[in-house]
Amino acid sequence: MWTWFHKLGSPPHFYRIATRLTPWFGWAALLLIVAGVYGGLYVAPTDYQQLDGFRIIYVHVPSASLSLFIYVNMALAAAAGLIWRIKLAHAIAAACAPIGASFTFLALATGSIWAKPMWGTWWVWDARLTSELVLLFLYFGFMALRAAIDDENRADRASALLAIIGVINVPIIKYSVDWWNTLHQPATISKLGKPSMDSDMLIWLLIMLAGFMCYFVAVVLTRAKAEVLQRARDQKWVRQALEGK
C-alpha cells in the first residue's frame, strides 16, 4: 500500500487517481457496513452469556482496530514524508489524524457504553482502556502541534517526528491485555487457527471491519485531496483540475 502511495508522489497525479478511486471505496464502505449492521444485528446468533448486549462489538472492535491501524499508517506516511521529503505523504498524514481521532473516540464511547452493563461502570483505569485514551491524546497532540506552527513546512516536519515517536504506544495498547491481566477482553479474533469466537459472529465482524477500512480509505483520500489542493492553491494544475470538473 505504501509503495503504492510512493509511486504516485506527484500531487496532480495523486489528485487524479484519488478522484477516480474515492467513489469506489465510498460505495464499498456503504455496502459492507450496511451488510455488516444487518448481519450483526439480525442474523448473528445471540451470545449465550451477554444476550443482545454483545452486539455493540460490531462497532467497538472495528473502530478500536482502526484507531490503531490509522495511527500506524499516519506514522508511516509521516516517516516517508520526513525521509524522502515528499509533501504528499505529509498531506496524507495530516489527513489521517482527525479520522483516527474519531475512531478512537468511537472505540472509547462504545467501549464505555458496553462497560456499563458488563462491568457496572462506565470507566475503569485499566491498562487497555487507559492506553486507548492515551492514543486519543496522541492524536490530539499531533493535531495541536500542527495547528500551533504557522509555517507549513515546519509543521509537516515537526508533526511527522512526533507521529513517529508516538508509535511506541501502539504495541502497548495492542498487547496491554496480554501483558497485564485486566478486566478487558483478551485477544479473541486474532488467535489464528482456532478463534475462540463463533464463526457466525465472526464473519459479520470481519465484514464490518472491511467496511470501516473502506470508509477510512475513502475519507482519507478526500481529505488528502483537499490538503493537496490547499497547498498547491496557486499552481496551474489546480485550476485545470477544478475547472475540468
Binding site: 500551533a148 512526533l162 508516538g166
Partner: protein, 227 residues
C-alpha cells in the same frame, strides 16, 4: 582542523549548564522545593490519616516526579533558543544530538537527582513502608532520566512556538505513561512484598531505549525548530 573529542564536548556542555544553574542558586533549589512542596501539601489537602497517606504515597511520589520534570521541560531549551546560543551550538562541529544529550544530563543532575535523593525523606513523611524505599529510589533513578529525555524531545519540538499552555504536556504525557505505570508498579510491588525486579528491569530497558533514541529525535526536532 583538530576538533575536540566527543567526550570533551560533552563534559564542556554539562559543565556550562551546571555553571549557569549555580549562578542562580535559587533555580537549583526550585525543583527540590517543588517536590517537597507537593508532597507536604498533599497531607495538608487531605485527611492526614497515616493509612490513607500510605496508600497514596507511591502515587504522590510518582506524580510529583512526573510533574516536576514535565514542568521543567518547558524551559529546558527555550532560553538557549531565545538568546541564540542554540544556533551557535547547531553550527558547532560537534554532533547536535550529543550536545543536547549533554544538556539533558545536566538538567537531570539539577532536577532529577535531587528528587531521587530526597525520595526517602518524602517517603518517610508520607509513611511509605521502609521496605519500599530502596526500590522506589532505584525506580526513580531509572525513570527520571527517561522523563527528562522524553520531555527534552518534546521541548525541542515545541521550542519555536508560543507558550502553548498545555501543548507540551499533551505531547509528553502519553509517551511517558508506561514509565509511570512501571514505576508505580515497582513501588507497589515492594510495598506488598513482591519482588519488583521485573518492573525495574523493564524500566532499565526503557531507559536504554530512551538514551539511545531520544538524542537523535531531539537533534532532529531542534533543527526543525531552528529552521
Amino acid at each position: 582542523m583538530d576538533i575536540p573529542g566527543l567526550g570533551t564536548a560533552f563534559i564542556l556542555q554539562v559543565r556550562r549548564d551546571l555553571q549557569l544553574a549555580f549562578r542562580h542558586v535559587g533555580q537549583l533549589a526550585n525543583p527540590l522545593m517543588f517536590f517537597i512542596m507537593v508532597t507536604t501539601l498533599f497531607p495538608l489537602a487531605l485527611n492526614p490519616m497515616p493509612r490513607l497517606l500510605e496508600a497514596i504515597a507511591p502515587g504522590v511520589l510518582w506524580v510529583a516526579a512526573l510533574l516536576a520534570s514535565l514542568l521543567a521541560a518547558e524551559g529546558l531549551f527555550r532560553q538557549d533558543v531565545d538568546d541564540g546560543t542554540m544556533e551557535q551550538l547547531a553550527l558547532s562541529p560537534q554532533p547536535l544530538a550529543l550536545m543536547l544529550l549533554a544538556k539533558t544530563v545536566a538538567h537531570w543532575l539539577i532536577t532529577g537527582l535531587p528528587l531521587v535523593i530526597m525520595s526517602p525523606v518524602v517517603g518517610y513523611a508520607l509513611f511509605l513502608p521502609r521496605d519500599a524505599v530502596p526500590t522506589t529510589m532505584i525506580a526513580l533513578a531509572l525513570a527520571t532520566p527517561i522523563l527528562n529525555l522524553v520531555g527534552g524531545s518534546m521541548a525541542a519540538l515545541t521550542v519555536g512556538l508560543r507558550r502553548g499552555g498545555g501543548l507540551l504536556s499533551l505531547l509528553i504525557l502519553p509517551i511517558v505513561m508506561p514509565v509511570l505505570i512501571f514505576g508505580a508498579r515497582a513501588t507497589d510491588m515492594a510495598m506488598t512484598g513482591v519482588d519488583p525486579a521485573g518492573a525495574l528491569y523493564l524500566l532499565a530497558a526503557l531507559l536504554l531505549l530512551a538514551v539511545s533514541l531520544t538524542p537523535f529525535a531531539m537533534a532532529a526536532a531542534m533543527r526543525i525548530s531552528l529552521d
